[in-house]
């Protein structure tokens, strides 16, 4: 197995529930190299976030293996493990210490990127969800990883924030590997170069977005509304 690759083999994850065992992932296998951006579509509860958590190392698989030949981020867009009673600055300091980074330089970056102004010195519990997202993303960008895990990042923030995030991720870090899970198909189409659909615990991979999307639409039971085809033709 070569380095600089993430190799996932026969990954299975079972959660015990009160109604018996719930098989969430049933034998997932794929490889991901630097520069590859794998976009995963799936319905709610299909196991997208579970897969991301397993790869991030936060949770152990029931069986199977994950070989990480590169450094892997925590799932972006998630709160970055904020302590809500603490200020934004305290949280930046904490993450910097955990990853052994220069605190002052990181603070400067977060101040410029998150645009929180004086709120950076207030407890995170006083932030709006948009402000939290800005802080979370800025903190995610101060630690450099080879592979970024991105879980529904498009769900938060305004257009300006999205543009800045996209620039940081897909332009400045275009050489990195990424795994992006979302149910926002357009986001995945625009930013990935490999695709997969997660359904019934299995991952089907595609080299072409339209094929992946066609299968995904069928899975979620999307039917063209009456008059859809006429509409398509008339606008064309």
């Amino acid at each position: 197995m070569s380095d600089d690759v993430i190799s996932v083999r026969d990954l299975r994850k079972i959660y015990p529930t009160r109604f018996g065992e719930n098989l969430v992932l049933d034998g997932i296998s794929f490889d991901l190299a630097m520069g590859e951006r794998l976009g995963i579509l799936g319905r709610n509860g299909a196991g997208k976030s579970t897969l991301v958590r397993l790869i991030s190392g936060a949770e152990k698989a029931t069986s199977g293996s994950i070989h990480c030949g590169m450094s892997v981020s925590w799932p972006l867009a998630f709160g970055g493990a904020f302590q809500h009673q603490l200020t934004g600055i305290d949280n930046v300091r904490f993450i910097s210490r955990i990853y052994d980074q220069d605190i002052d330089r990181n603070l400067e970056f977060v101040e410029n990127f998150a645009e929180l102004g004086p709120y950076l010195r207030e407890p995170v519990s006083t932030y709006s969800s948009g402000m939290r997202a800005r802080l979370a993303f800025a903190i995610s960008m101060i630690i450099e990883f080879d592979c970024f895990l991105i879980d529904e990042i498009s769900a938060v923030g305004d257009a300006r924030f999205h543009d800045r995030c996209n620039y940081e991720l897909f332009e400045k870090r275009a050489d990195r590997a990424m795994i992006i899970v979302s149910h926002d198909a357009a986001y995945i189409r625009d930013n990935c170069n490999r695709w997969g659909v997660l359904h019934d615990g299995r991952l089907v991979q595609y080299g072409d977005f339209e094929l992946a999307y066609a299968d995904f639409k069928e899975l979620i039971g999307w039917k063209p509304p009456p008059g859809w085809h006429e509409l398509q033709i008339s606008t064309a």
Partner: protein
């Protein structure tokens, strides 16, 4: 913005990372618990000090019957400080993982580190409280200096060791079952009068001595008392019981922590 290497680290590297992580957790814990308001992190040892002073006053006022000619102030200080040391540790570790689940997303932070940071903080608080009060009471001549300070220190460490091992085990089990949290409160409350804090073993009838000497913490408290008062304490203890007990408890607790680490589900 250095890149984070993915290669597995050597033992010394791992040790360095762990020290850094526990240090960062410690600061975070202090800020979250005590904040920057009024006296801030001084509460770490001011709170146990208030407890100990309160108990000292109470026991002095009621002329607590402890079955010896030892001064009550010194008796209360050694006894109650020991209780605070071992009893607060499980209290801080039960539910600690649930409160910090989000941290599990950071690869370098392990379940063990979360407990270690809290235990260090608890140990620091109880130790500072005990030392400051001891120095204070000695300075105002309520108490004489300890007969053998090394023995006091050694006994203190043995009690802390017991507390840490118990805390990690109960902390890990509390992730698996809510019962641990529910049962710990009555259990710790009942264990307090039996822990040797409020009596001398030698003052008990023989059959009672045999029973309380099954409780490992009693040996630790007696050992500390002998360090403080010398032969006057008429201490009864067996380190040959306490140390193996601690060792076995530590192994069991570490196994429990490992078991939980493999099953933890971040939010």
């Amino acid at each position: 913005m250095a890149s984070t290497p993915a290669v597995s680290a050597s033992f010394s590297d791992s040790l360095r990372i762990q020290r850094r992580v526990i240090g960062a957790l410690l600061r975070r814990e202090m800020l979250t618990r005590f904040g920057r308001h009024n006296i801030g992190f001084l509460w770490l040892f001011v709170e146990p000090m208030i407890f100990t002073i309160g108990v000292t006053i109470l026991w002095t006022a009621t002329k607590s019957v402890h079955g010896s000619d030892l001064p009550i102030v010194a008796f209360a200080l050694t006894g109650y400080s020991s209780v605070l040391l071992w009893r607060n540790m499980p209290g801080r570790c039960i539910g600690a993982l649930q409160a910090n689940l989000a941290l599990m997303y950071h690869r370098n932070i392990k379940v063990f580190d979360i407990y270690a940071a809290r235990l260090l903080l608890e140990f620091g608080g109880a130790t500072i409280s005990f030392s400051v009060l001891a120095v204070l009471f000695i300075a105002i001549e309520w108490m004489e200096p300890p007969a053998d300070i090394l023995q006091v220190f050694g006994g203190w460490l043995l009690i802390a060791w017991f507390g840490c091992a118990l805390a990690m085990g109960l902390g890990a089990l509390s992730y698996l079952s809510d019962l641990v949290d529910k049962l710990w409160h009555p259990f710790s409350y009942l264990l307090f009068p039996l822990s040797g804090a409020a009596f001398l073993v030698a003052a008990l009838p023989l059959f009672a001595q045999e029973i309380v000497l099954w409780i490992p913490i009693v040996h630790g408290v007696e050992f500390v008392r002998e360090g403080f008062f010398g032969p006057r304490a008429r201490a009864v203890y067996d380190l040959g019981y306490l140390i193996p007990f601690n060792l076995v408890l530590t192994v069991i607790s570490l196994i429990a922590v490992r078991y939980v680490s493999r099953r933890v589900v971040p939010e």
